[in-house]
Symmetry: C2
């Protein structure tokens, strides 16, 4: 019934605990802090393996396609799409450059790339505009594609942040040393704030470098350079001050892409910080409020008129909005299916009967 | 020890169940589907009350400031800030209108409002631009404030969507009839898709109305109107085609604000749909994969070598990334504190001893 002999003793109903009895009776920790470290001989290897990123070995790590692993390929896909957009856009606008009016730098390819970036980031200076109907419709198509692309990039960036946190949750299970655990907890608490500060500092550097370039290369007055930089990173792009030289447009193509994304990331982090603070306030309330007999009654999942630690934790999670009754029902259905002897608890024997082969 | 006599019988360890014994022994539903309906005499009133929105009566509903209630005031705060921004911006640009160059409509106040909206939404046509240093710096200040404001609005909108879903989770607990429950579940499944379609339809109407206005009032050719509408809703604002008449600028002030927000909402819903689908794929994996004896061992929270239904559900939640070990530890600490007789389960007696007064 159990393939692995090492695991055989672990959950037999009548077996004495195999784990050293480190828990004294009476007022003491009665719960096992590390749920993935059931028995020392099994654990050593699997914890190490999962730390090194091997997923097949641990039942706690979902398949690649679902959590962190599935993220990065799609994140890269957006990067590839971005590159494809820039290539296609530059080629298209290069071909219709004769149907464009406004300031030219003299370099046809550079102007096409510049117009493509200015369109993608929705800066839209208007210093170079399509003049024929065909060119206008082409610009419209690239405008919408650009917005969708930048939206997808930011959405992926937001997802990535969330999934990185989810991955951290999984990693937390594998941490055994109390020191590691505590430092990670402290790190977590200030991580979002730290990211916000980092992006703010990065933004300051980007603004300063843009201003310096406009003053040095485009020969703008400092106030005009500041005005142009502000109008650009906010994607306003009034267009009365913009990059007109060939060198300016080459710089602008890279600078505009980076600066607008950093501004967006800054606001993303600010929103994340606000969401996290609110979530913490709710958690604080759920954790500290008075427990009543009605709570006990509601928490009693199996109707045995006792509330176990797990039932209590599950009830609190429902209060936090982390799980709905629907979700719990699905778990209970699976539990029912696995509980072959209808004892109300699962054992290895139940599993062997319910999942033959 | 218990104030309310009706509740007294509910969780006494040795009392027989007060609920009618509707669960036959053997292969049957062993779990209570509705965790907030512990006893019929208590439940009737409280369920009704919480349906009507009274929160104090039910221990499941958090205080106003934390969930849905706390959202709307801050959502309105953003609305008030938006109005304040438009008022202050219109007043400021009205005063510096002599330091602005470009197309005038003849109505000074309308031009100021129009420039303010074009700046706030980062459309930035550039058909009306600041020409003095003071006006340029003023525009910079309003540009950043506008981006922050629109960002805050969208962040609140995103929060609102999430919190509405959280609130739904809470409401789900109070649903007793299976029909209600099922229809709500179906509704939920298609809700995000429905919202995406709605915003897409709204967007189409907005694009059409903008085009119609530009053709009729501004006398543009249909292609130019389409080009101008596209350049506006994507916040590109090249500015070679824009609203120049007084009527056009009055229309633009409202139309630009609404259209850019609807475009942003559309992308927000698209991102929400993608996130929900990924979350469902993870849930599907967690719910359907084979349970092993190592899972049982990891799920056994209180170390009694049996996995109860609640322990099983809690373990699945950890796999879903809904709860970290840290979170569970905090619940267990509170449980330890409340479990006065150290029996490993909570009863009314424990509560009375642990929370005197």
């Amino acid at each position: 019934m159990v393939e692995n002999g090492v695991q055989q003793h672990l959950l037999h109903d009548d077996d004495p605990p195999n784990v050293p009895p480190k828990i004294p009776p009476g007022r003491a920790r009665r719960f096992r802090r590390c749920q993935t470290a059931p028995s020392h001989n099994v654990e050593q290897g699997s914890a190490l393996r999962s730390r090194q990123g091997a997923s097949a070995a641990s039942p706690l790590v979902p398949p690649k396609g679902l959590l962190t692993g599935g993220m990065r390929p799609r994140f890269w896909l957006v990067g590839v799409l971005l590159l494809a957009y820039l290539l296609a856009g530059t080629a298209a606008f290069y071909l219709v450059m004769d149907h464009m009016s406004g300031d030219r730098s003299g370099n046809r390819a550079l102007d096409a790339l510049y117009f493509c970036v200015v369109t993608m980031t929705t800066v839209g200076y208007g210093d170079l505009v399509p003049s024929s109907d065909a060119a206008k419709l082409l610009a419209c198509a690239f405008a919408f594609a650009g917005v969708a692309l930048v939206g997808a990039f930011l959405s992926k960036a937001a997802d990535y942040l969330v999934e990185k946190q989810e991955a951290l949750v999984f990693r937390t299970f594998h941490l055994h040393h109390a020191d590691d655990y505590k430092s990670m907890r402290d790190m977590e608490a200030n991580k979002v704030l730290y990211k916000l500060y980092t992006s703010a500092a990065l933004l300051a550097v980007i603004l300063a470098s843009g201003m310096a370039f406009l003053v040095k290369v485009e020969g703008m007055r400092p106030v005009d350079a500041f005005y142009c930089v502000c109008a650009t990173v906010t994607t306003l792009g009034y267009g009365d001050r913009s990059f007109t030289s060939a060198a300016g447009r080459a710089f602008a193509a890279a600078w505009i892409t980076v600066s607008t994304l950093v501004v967006a990331l800054f606001f993303l982090y600010a929103a994340e910080l606000a969401a996290e603070r609110r979530q913490k306030a709710l958690a604080q309330w759920v954790l500290t409020r008075r427990t009543t007999s009605m709570d006990l009654e509601a928490a009693d999942l199996n109707g045995d008129h006792r509330v176990s630690a797990a039932e209590f934790a599950l009830y609190k999670l429902k209060e936090l909005g982390k799980i709905s009754q629907e979700g719990i029902s699905e778990f209970l259905e699976e539990f029912d299916m696995l509980d072959a002897d209808h004892s109300g608890t699962l054992s290895c024997h139940d599993l062997a009967v319910a999942q033959p082969g």
